[in-house]
């Protein structure tokens, strides 16, 4: 089962009335959606509000989701539309002082508002996480590294990985788990010990 199918499994559970399954989808895609909305709204707090609204809209529309496209593709469209609507609503509001300072003679500078507005702290944290994860992957035993890479980067199902690695599906499951466990341990060590902000990861 590939990543899309695993999302679909969660979606079906939400459609059956399990709201907890939707929490898992939110946890899975929160960063991607917030980042996406931040392309339209400069302020991170505003972007989070709009992203939250997008998740709520998606939840309400979920009964109509048939699975013709991947869940994230569908969520992406909702998030983009919600962000555009929020931006349009903002255009209709009285212009704030902060907005005026960014406005040129020819009106609002759309390009500047579509630039990546991530804060230096956010960029540093993102970089730190990537470096930690990459270092942990490099340190993994070969079989664990291959299994997690085939899963996360290639999107192969356990069965496909089993064929590729010539081992039982149960072994694949165990290898992927142990790889994640090792990377996760490294992440928690770095953030709990060094920076004391492991909670920021979730």
């Amino acid at each position: 089962m590939g990543p899309d199918a695993s999302d679909l499994s969660l979606v079906r559970r939400v459609q059956r009335g399990e709201r907890g399954a939707y929490d898992l989808l939110v946890l899975k895609y929160q960063h991607k959606v917030v980042k996406l909305v931040m392309r339209y709204l400069r302020d991170p707090a505003d972007a989070e509000d709009v992203a939250q609204e997008a998740f709520i809209k998606a939840y309400r529309a979920l009964p109509q989701f048939r699975g013709d496209s991947a869940f994230y593709t569908w969520l992406y469209r909702i998030a983009i539309n919600t962000a555009k609507n929020a931006l349009a609503a903002r255009e209709r509001q009285p212009v704030s002082y902060e907005f005026d300072t960014q406005q040129g003679e020819d009106g609002p500078d759309m390009i500047s508002r579509l630039k990546d507005p991530e804060t230096p702290e956010g960029l540093a944290l993102t970089e730190e996480i990537r470096e930690t994860v990459n270092a942990a992957i490099v340190a993994l035993p070969e079989d664990l590294r291959t299994a997690i890479v085939l899963r996360e980067l290639e999107g192969l199902s356990y069965e496909e990985i089993a064929v590729s690695m010539d081992c039982p599906v149960g072994t694949v499951r165990s290898r992927i788990f142990r790889a994640r466990e090792a990377i996760d341990r490294r992440l928690r060590e770095v953030f709990d010990g060094g920076l004391g902000r492991a909670e920021e990861l979730v």
């Binding site: 695993s6 009335g17 709201r19 929490d23 980042k35 996360e152 788990f177 979730v202």
Partner: protein, 229 residues
Amino acid sequence: MNRDELESQLSAMFDGELPAAECELLSRRIDREENLRACWARYALIGAAMRSEPVATARSGFAARVSAALGARASAPPHARRRQSRWWSGALAASLVAAVAGVSVTMLRDAALRQGRAVALVPAASMSVARVAGAVDSAAAPAPAADARAPNGTGTPSYVTPAERGATNTFLRTQLADYIVAHSAFSTPLVRRNLLSELVTGEDGISIAPGFALAAGADATAALPGPGR
């Protein structure tokens, strides 16, 4: 189940590779245990970091805030809410109709008994409940009064056999006329007049409401209000 096995299941569920029955059980634990949700979020983070996707752009607690917002607005997805509301509203409507019908029948029967006879209202009221609940198509259903015509031959007061026409029905017709007038605030005078006229002149009884049939009598005229009432 030890922690390793639990997280191994979580990892498989994250990949959509856990059997449905195990997913069901694990989901309940995830709902209860914050640690498992945090672990799930870190698995997502690891995958995103490996694919160079955005990480750590949402502040901590974002998912909890979404969940709280959803919980504040609704506890179930829209389709489930609709199903529940349909079920509850149907049951509630049926209960209300049954209660109103029961009270009405009791009151009317007591009133009729005070007049010295029993009146065939029970079957009609019961059918009214069934029709409101959608069980019986009012157009296809036979007229209750006509069904109840078969005499029981015992000579005892019957809840099935309709009352004979006569002065004893005056009370009910009066009530019915009053009811029509009281609830016709939004009807046109012509409709109201036709209805009352039918009540007065009907030979075999009229259906004022589905399933509510009464025998009409000649002396109902006295109970009729004027058009301006």
